[in-house]
Symmetry: C2
Subunit: 117 residues, 2 copies
């Protein structure tokens, strides 16, 4: 089986390249910690396979929260990231959500229709 | 004390926004794992403070390897990331290096002169 982590980023914020990379980094570490605690088998398989990651976009915060809710309803790790807000966006702005690491076919049920960044 | 993780990305590769974010995600997770295993106190403090991350640039692979070597000489977590090479760059291309998480003043000795992405 193959495992992946998908991070869905809000496209309406127009984040810079560096800011976006930092948010994806937050999501990746938070999801890794969450999976390690709750689904250790998935976490270990994902690491062993080279920790595959994919970045996609969502229109706005409402769609982002829909993604998080759907992921949780399927029992997948789902971490909503808020920015510390030192630059670019107000403190507490929701920037992205990480789904997984989990088996591809489960993650695809949540993020399969979202377009790649 | 404050802790941070700095990821230095090669600017000569001209990576896309999505590709760059994925590489930074790899570095963040790899550095978190490395710190957790070797410097657990730093890892826990960094997480407790909100896992601060900064992305900077290096000119090319030679400068990137210099950063990694200097970080290791100071006993800091340093993870050199190679791309799986499915798109944009050949498989095995070194894309970035993560330094930390570690105390700010130590990380600054390695990455303090590099410019923000």
């Amino acid at each position: 089986m193959e495992y992946k982590l998908v991070v869905a980023v809000r496209e309406d914020l127009g984040l810079s390249k560096g800011k976006l990379a930092v948010q994806v980094g937050h999501a990746a570490v938070s999801c890794a910690i969450s999976a390690r605690a709750k689904q250790e088998k998935w976490y270990r398989a994902w690491i062993a396979e080279g920790q595959r990651k994919v970045v996609v976009t969502v229109e706005d915060e409402r769609h982002l929260q829909d993604v998080a809710a759907k992921a949780r309803s399927l029992g997948l790790p789902a971490e909503v990231i808020q920015d510390a807000g030192l630059t670019e966006v107000p403190a507490g702005t929701v920037t992205c959500v990480g789904v997984g690491p989990a088996p591809d076919h489960l993650v695809n049920q949540v993020t399969g229709s979202l377009k790649l960044l």
